[in-house]
Symmetry: C2
């Protein structure tokens, strides 16, 4: 089955390849008769444009690369959807990559995207990846950091004030009269985690007599949350914290599963619990989960917006930082 190119279409329609190309890209330049003859030929032969050839000529692909920490987390799929919708308006596609909270995978995706000559890269960066990202941008790929406040102002970024969010969560727990807080979360290479913890630390510091312990987890998944919850449940009752702030909702749901499984720990009576992200499943949990809400889809669409602006501006572009404020959502897991 010989593949069909513009050449075959041109021959069939009795025109030149240039005209076929015009039919595809600027039909206005072509006379009505020729247009329909060429379209008929395309239909007849089943011609399908070869995107590789197109991109080669154009020098850039019509896609945006998006690297997130975990596609299993609804927060990121919501964010991705926001990005997709905005990208679609500009005629662009979003390629979704999952770093799985792993530097190696993140790096592999960045390499892949660069080989594809993507229009730009949106990334929820892990650790201090500054170097690779800087190189990427130097070579001409616009790059926007997502869900991450960055000290280095040379990148555009869209973020939520996670320190504020952490403060909000811990402040809420303290306001309820809780004094022995635990923060469940992990991988201090993930900035979101350390910022949320930092916010909690500040809230605790403002209230003498309130303590904060940290329960480390290996990742931000339901399973890890369950382990952490089980570890807490296994302690004698008086050594348990009276409030838990989980670094995200997946962890919080895991903790909740561990607590409610044997009915030994009651939420919120024995331990109040709050998560972060306010994913759709949080409100449907065993005990509806209090959480810190972030505008996930808006973050995604804004990131694309900044990316397009950077791509347009070219050399003389000025990075922009957009910061959203999170809000507290109170449900049954903290107040009875």
């Amino acid at each position: 089955m010989a593949s069909i190119s513009v050449r075959e279409v041109a021959a069939e329609a009795g025109v030149s390849v240039g005209t076929v190309s015009n039919v595809l890209n600027s039909p206005a330049k072509v006379s009505a008769g020729t247009l329909s003859r060429v379209q008929a030929a395309i239909e007849l032969l089943g011609f399908v444009r070869n995107d590789a050839a197109r991109q080669l000529r154009a020098g850039r692909s019509r896609s945006i690369g998006l690297v997130v920490l975990d596609v299993g987390n609804p927060f990121f799929t919501d964010l991705a959807r926001g990005a997709e919708d905005r990208a679609a308006q500009a005629g662009l596609t979003v390629l979704l990559g999952n770093s799985d909270e792993t530097v190696a995978r993140q790096s592999a995706y960045l390499d892949l995207f660069e080989e594809q000559r993507v229009h730009g890269v949106l990334i929820t960066p892990l650790g201090e990846t500054g170097e690779q990202l800087t190189r990427l941008r130097l070579r001409g790929t616009p790059t926007v950091l997502v869900d991450r406040q960055i000290e280095d102002r040379s990148f555009s970024s869209v973020a939520v004030d996670d320190v504020f969010g952490g403060h909000l969560a811990a402040g809420h727990l303290i306001g309820l009269g809780r004094t022995r807080l635990a923060f469940v979360g992990g991988q201090h290479t993930i900035r979101q985690v350390t910022d949320r913890l930092e916010g909690a630390r500040r809230a605790v510091a403002e209230h003498p007599g309130v303590t904060l312990e940290v329960v480390e987890t290996a990742s931000l998944s339901v399973l890890e949350g369950r382990s952490a919850g089980e570890a807490i449940r296994a302690r004698p009752a008086h050594e348990r914290p009276d409030a838990v702030f989980a670094a995200n909702d997946l962890l919080a749901l895991g903790v909740l599963q561990a607590f409610s499984m044997l009915g030994e720990v009651r939420v919120p009576q024995d331990i109040a619990l709050i998560g972060y992200d306010d994913i759709a499943f949080a409100s449907a949990a065993v005990v509806p989960l209090s959480s810190i809400r972030q505008p996930s889809a808006l973050i995604g669409s804004t990131a694309v917006e900044l990316l397009l602006r950077e791509a347009e501006a070219g050399a003389d572009f000025v990075p922009e930082q957009v910061v959203f404020q999170p809000e507290l959502v109170v449900r049954a897991s903290t107040v009875s």
Copy 2:
């Protein structure tokens, strides 16, 4: 910023472009000295392979297209992950497309993938899309149907026996002594929905005196489930069903939210509830949800497996149908 191609690298290293290509693709053919000289030049100039040029020459891309009904549904992200892992082993990437239960979007993704000359397409098809898929395959793109049993045996497919699953769910409810069943689900263009309903119908038919009503929804989301649940709750108590089978877990969680919000309907005492897919959040629900489990990741990896086989076999390939059996997972939403 002039872009760096193999030509520049070749000049810098003092070799021919052919040799640079060999360094990239079959280093064994190149002597040690030349190898390191070329690698140094690549490093120095910051050369990055242009994937478009590569693909153009190769005629195929190194990606697989995957079109799912809803990326927001954890079942599909699990499936996608299974596919990605298997694809990575073969050096392929997975491009994830979200049809959003819409024929137009599905069609757009298929066109896009065909223009990209993907290695193959995995799809959870909507409606009777036979024609477009047949054309796609005729033009040489291997295609595997996912999560869909197909009567037409000309396609390879990986599926779960949804009729059996539906029977399992309804049978379970009937076995508990429930007699007024309701099926919540919608868009009869989605085969999974009609199959699950068909299974439920059969189970009901086997038990005289048991009735089954159908509550139509516009999609398979938590929000739609909530509306359906509210509609049921709004009825006088004696006109409500005593058991609900939701077409998937998202719907079931929505129904559960509606039921438990005012505390008017108790699950499972007043109405037993069962979902489908057994997503991770099902076990963490207000009332842990009974469900029908499908091996999501395995479905994804198997689909890639079949795809690779089809790609390898070429013209004389024989389509294969793999069918997995779902299993019943009983939790508190059906038994107290």
